[in-house]
Each structure stands twice: as structure tokens, then as C-alpha cells.
Symmetry: C2
Subunit: 138 residues, 2 copies
DNA sequence: TCATCTTTGCAACATCATTGCATCATCCAA
DNA sequence: TTGGATGATGCAATGATGTTGCAAAGATGA
């Protein structure tokens, strides 16, 4: 479990005010080694206000703590940025894997292969794989 | 514009009944050289029932005529399968590009680079890039 | 401690997606 | 060509999902 002081440092480093809700949610992200959907967070914090969650996640993303991962058109997952301990940096060029069995979304270490598209200007790349994860196979 | 007979052939080849609504929607997909969202289709067929659209798109996907493309967590696009004229075959291993300017989603000819994940069983791969498309740059 | 600006929580609203069911259309077989 | 079995459609109702405005509470720096 991450310490309270560490969580505060992350928020401060991204120029965000320290509030109880933000500390709780960010701690949850740090404690779970995976990407979380709004549903996951709602399940963990049952009496949290939905609006506040949306705004908190939005603020985390805007300030470079989280990156968003479009899953299946009705679900958005959020993962900690690799460099969330440092300055804001929105790049997130790793592969995501969603397990059909356990539903968990993982941020993999593996980078997305470079692709060049002549005539196009590429700003974002998102690669999501799905199937059965290493834990569920084992 | 695709001929009525061709559209019927595609539906028949995928073991689907021929109905007016299905013919209209499939014709629309064939006429547009791009992936369509539910919103695009609703804009084209203003008095179509939403439920029927969901079910039609779901049936097209299940029978291998369309593949779905998760865009940004709140939008799902659908594209014609390359082989939609033949037998059902759900594979769709090309790159998708969503333009931030015009909003159009294209199915590119370029295949998704092969990635191996030891310990994982991969069933689906989805790669969406976004930025500015060739038409908007030109 | 105070003043200021941000964040939160509630209410209301708008949109999106799903389910059940009665009716209608399609298609195959007689 | 027609009748019946099966599948598709449209409507109503419900539930889930996001968004906005605003007043109250909290965080931060002076």
C-alpha cells in the first residue's frame, strides 16, 4: 500500500489540490496493478458521488496522472501513467490487454510497434488486445 | 451505388433474412467507404427505430458482415468486413484511423503488426490511431 | 486566521442502451 | 401459390450512463 505522503507528492507534482477523495482514488490506482474502469472504482467506493468521480478522473487525465483506454464502446478504463511520479507527460505507448475471463485490463510493458502512415498526421495510438490473460491460463 | 441484387446476395450469403431495413442500412455501408457510428446511421435514417438499429448492427456483426471498432469509450463504429461478400469470417486485422477534424473513421489497408505475448491467449486485436487524415491535410 | 479560488455533492436533465411483448414480414415446404 | 413456422420490427418501459448549474464546504497562500 502506498503511503499517504507519496500520494500527496504525486498530486502536488501535477499541480493538483490535495483532497480526501483524490487521495483515496489515487491510492486505489497505485494499489491495484491494473487499469480501472469507472465501474471498478464505484464498486470500491460505494457512496462516492458519480459526478465527482467523473471530474476526478477527468482531472487526473488532464494533469497527466492517468491515461484513458477505450475498451468496447461503452467502457473506458484508466491506467496510471508510467511517469506519474514526475512531471505531466501524456504519452502512453504500451499495449493494453483485456481478459475475457476475469475482465481485468492490464498495462503491458510491451510498446506498440511503430507504424507510419504517409499522408496522415498521427496524434494518438491505441492498441487493445483481448483474450485470456496469463493469470487465467495458469 | 450498390445494386439491390448485390445487397441481397450479401445478406443471403451470411444466412440472414432480407428485410427493407437491412437492405437500406447495408446499402449505406457499401456506398460509404468508411466505418459508421450509430449516430451516422441515425442521421441518415431519421425515423428508424433505435432498437432496430442496435439489433441490426448486432446481427450484422454476429454474422460477419461488419466488425466493430471501439473508438473513445462512448462511441462504437462499424466497418464492412473485407470479405463480407463471401462466407462469415470475423477477422479484421487492419488499422483504423479516426480523424479529429472531420470525424470520419477509415479502415486502412495496412495490417496490424504482429505482436506475441508469451503466456497470453490473444483472440482479438484492435488498433485505432487518431489525428488528421489524408483528406483534411490535403 | 482570513480571503480567494477550487472542489464537492446534490438535483435536474439529457442521452444511451436493453428487455419484453405484440404485431408483422420473410421464406420454406406442401 | 399459399399457409404456417420462424425471425424481425416497433413500441413502451426501464435502467444505465454522462453532463450542467449552483450552493456549500474545503484547500491553499498570504
Amino acid at each position: 500500500m502506498a503511503r499517504y505522503g507519496d500520494i500527496k507528492k504525486i498530486l502536488k507534482a501535477h499541480n493538483m489540490r490535495i483532497t480526501d477523495g483524490r487521495v483515496d482514488i489515487l491510492s486505489f490506482f497505485v494499489s491495484q496493478d491494473r487499469a480501472l474502469t469507472l465501474r471498478d472504482i464505484q464498486k470500491e467506493f460505494k457512496n462516492a458521488d458519480r459526478v465527482t468521480l467523473y471530474r476526478t478522473l477527468g482531472a487526473f487525465e488532464k494533469n497527466g496522472i492517468l491515461h484513458s483506454i477505450p475498451l468496447d464502446g461503452t467502457q473506458m478504463a484508466y491506467g496510471l501513467n508510467d511517469n506519474s511520479h514526475g512531471q505531466a507527460n501524456h504519452n502512453c505507448d504500451h499495449i493494453h490487454f483485456k481478459c475475457d475471463e476475469c475482465g481485468i485490463v492490464q498495462c503491458l510493458d510491451q510498446p506498440i510497434p511503430k507504424v507510419t502512415l504517409p499522408g496522415y498526421q498521427i496524434k494518438q495510438v491505441n492498441l487493445v488486445m483481448s483474450g485470456v490473460c496469463n493469470s487465467c491460463i495458469a
